[in-house]
Symmetry: C2
Subunit: 252 residues, 2 copies
């Protein structure tokens, strides 16, 4: 049985706590929150504290705090022998503790939404092979999709996620705005949007590309550019059209 101290009380901390609750091999023995109130969710379930001096000895200290707070939190954990792992995709493996690691679940977490952790990929890294193995085993105990990624790869993965999730969501917003403006129920597009995402599990984005750009349908491209009013949206439309056409010709 490995004992874990969880530092953080937000969405990710809550979901990790639930994933490890009633686990045979891993037990969260304490949750740290900045204030007693912030740890309210946990108080009837596990020992809580808001004082670093009260942190208990554990095998693993897992931080689930905002990126900008990671360093400070780790530095305030009293000298201990446990492995200290953060859960951030965009933060490299640190060298602040004696043993350092990363335990990064690749998903966005929303409060009050139950997630099935087994389907969520977890990427692990540590500064020794034995600790990498330790985190890998821990990840495999809650997820069926565990990957070893080094900091350089995780940085690239984070960039890829910005394109495929953050920017994609903004494209959804543009589509939502166009629909609203024309009194069209945005729900009409949702099955197509979900199908476009799900298709990636059976074929590559390259194979799945459709639309006026790849068909070089100049009439539609011209007409759609005319439909757009904002200069920045015309610019975005033109840039995507060029990128899709160039990629397809192998020019990038």
């Amino acid at each position: 049985m490995s004992e874990i101290v969880l530092l953080g009380t937000g969405n990710l901390a809550t979901h990790l706590f639930e994933a490890f609750s009633n686990h045979t091999n891993y037990k969260i023995i304490q949750v740290y929150g900045r204030t007693q109130e912030s740890a309210g969710y946990f108080k009837d379930k596990v020992s809580i504290t808001s004082d670093f001096r009260d942190l208990r000895a554990a095998d693993i200290y897992l931080t689930a705090v905002s990126d900008h707070a990671i360093q400070e939190v780790i530095q305030r954990i009293p000298a201990q022998k446990g492995l200290v792992a953060h859960t951030s995709g965009s933060t490299p493996l640190l060298s602040l503790a004696q043993r350092n690691g990363v335990f990064y679940p690749v998903q966005t977490f929303t409060k009050n939404t139950t997630v099935c952790f087994s389907g969520i990929p977890v990427c692990v890294e540590a500064d020794s092979e034995s600790d990498t193995q330790l985190l890998e085993d821990m990840a495999k105990s809650i997820s069926n999709h565990v990957y070893r990624l080094n900091s350089e790869q995780r940085k690239a993965l984070h960039l890829a996620a910005v394109f495929s999730c953050n920017f994609t969501n903004h494209l959804y917003r543009i589509a939502e705005d166009i629909c609203n403006k024309h009194l069209i129920d945005f729900k009409i597009l949702q099955p197509l949007i979900i199908e476009t995402a799900q298709k990636l599990t059976v074929s590559s984005a390259k194979e799945n590309q459709t639309g006026p750009a790849i068909r070089k349908d100049q009439n539609t491209i011209k007409r759609q550019l005319d439909q757009l009013q904002a200069t920045s949206l015309k610019e975005l439309y033109t840039l995507f059209t060029q990128l899709i056409q160039q990629e397809n010709e192998g020019k990038l």
Copy 2:
């Protein structure tokens, strides 16, 4: 019982044929294909023809052909009293037949993939109220999501689909390329991509926006721009970052 002649033998035609097979109120009585071979799939199931002169009298003539072929196909249907409807999202309501309509299923169809038509939105339009009703009833007999959209709205919907599906797929491709380049399994991102799409069914894209741009995390933005090599990708990253930040400040 309404009788339908289906013109076209591609993916959409096949899926429409299946959706209406064994239907109580609608019966596809004939399928037209450019050649006897192209209609091969249908030949043991229904009467087929490759000669416009052999088209049978029907209540509805439904074209499921490429956008550029719609006009020619409709013009070659011998003078008849039936309603002639096309299935194209990007084509306006035409005035080529005595009675004209649009029956547009909003989904991409892939051969050999069974689809459940009941979940696919269908948008209808016609040049009379009674024909709009006729198409609406026909759509409701196979789909639970039927909408009346005029040509102007359908044109806007098509533009919205280009942003939220075609351009989105290209963002997936960029992410896939970044992963491949760094020997990262693109599968790691798939659950997050699907979650980003599915979130739209519970909250708006505006509410769902996350990432460095909306957080105004200048360190990450600068670092990620440095990670990108191709000028066009730097340009795309910068444009999205501006759009997300401007939209959020209500400047657009």
